[in-house]
């Protein structure tokens, strides 16, 4: 213990922790934490994705000819993200064969979709704005 204290003075440890806390506190951003129910079709898509085992939460937004969806998976299941994405995409395609499906497990896509979901529920968002934001989300999904 004495050796540890000599190598890492308390002031340095405190400085490191303060820096960590600063980073964590900056992370909150202005992203909503929960998905709001928009319509029956959206809920159906979200439930369809959430029925896949390691998925913890999902968000979906229907546009005219497209369906944008994103999901969060359990940490230990992140090694099989590819198969989860494939399965979710297949399920959504089977349900809405006429639509173009965009599905991702990317965090940024999930956050932006959830933000749009909340904005659609509580604010008035123009069609142009929705299209612009969805095309940006599509870019996030592609990486």
């Amino acid at each position: 213990m004495l050796v540890t204290m000599k190598v890492f003075p308390l002031r340095r440890i405190l400085f490191c922790f303060m820096f960590l806390f600063l980073l964590v506190s900056c992370q909150a951003g202005d992203y909503p934490k929960k998905t709001v129910t928009l319509n029956e079709e959206t809920v159906q898509a979200e439930t369809l994705i959430q029925n896949i085992d390691p998925v913890t939460s999902a968000v979906a937004i229907h546009n005219e000819k497209e369906l944008y969806a994103a999901a969060e998976v359990e940490h230990m299941a992140r090694l099989r993200l590819e198969s989860i994405r494939k399965e979710a995409h297949e399920r959504l395609t089977d349900q809405w064969p006429e639509k173009t499906i965009f599905f991702s497990t990317d965090k940024k896509a999930l956050l932006e979709l959830r933000k749009l979901n909340n904005d659609l529920a509580f604010k008035s968002v123009s069609k142009k704005e929705i299209d612009k934001r969805l095309s940006k989300i599509e870019e996030y999904m592609k990486g």
Binding site: T4, V7, F8, R12, L20, L23, V24, C26, Q27, A28, G29, Y31, D106, K107, K108, A109, L111, Y140, M141, G143
Partner: protein
């Protein structure tokens, strides 16, 4: 080339080896592993925090956020090496600080600092990759072998 075989030990040498082994301090392997795990894990957790910071606050997705994250980690590691703090952490954590990308940054920057008196080209330029060179060589070779196995597995294994 034929390897030279070692000559058999004499009785005196054997006795000395036994005597030395008795007084040799035992290396605390488990404790070292635990320290490496904790510090290495903390560095990786910090990296995850930095990545999340970029995802939440800037126009990056998970994939593109890894580039500035690595840049930040390298910058911090180089800065800590310059101040002499990284060496102290490495003394405590051992392999825990060598494995992540920060270990590579430390290897390069410490070589550069050590040889700066020999000049910019002959000193810093020549010696910077002396320690980091094997990492690149074996890293690239390992990546090639793994990629080859993966490709063959996909080709024949289905």
């Amino acid at each position: 080339m034929k390897m030279k075989q070692k000559p058999p030990l004499t009785d005196a040498q054997r006795t000395y080896q036994k005597f030395a082994a008795k007084d040799e301090p035992q290396s605390p392997v488990l404790l070292n592993c635990l320290k490496a795990f904790l510090i290495g894990g903390s560095i990786c957790a910090f990296g995850q925090l930095v990545q999340d910071f970029f995802v939440y606050n800037f126009d990056f997705n998970e994939q593109t956020a890894s580039n500035p994250t690595i840049a930040v980690l390298i910058f911090i590691a180089v800065l800590l090496t310059g101040f002499g703090v990284y060496d102290k952490i490495a003394q405590f954590a051992g392999a825990g600080t060598a494995v992540p990308v920060t270990g590579f940054a430390n290897a390069m920057s410490s070589s550069a600092i050590e040889h700066r008196t020999e000049g910019l080209v002959q000193g810093v330029g020549t010696n910077m990759f002396k320690l980091a060179g094997p990492v690149i060589v074996f890293g690239t070779t390992a990546a090639f072998v793994v990629a080859l196995i993966k490709t063959l597995w996909g080709y024949w294994g289905g």
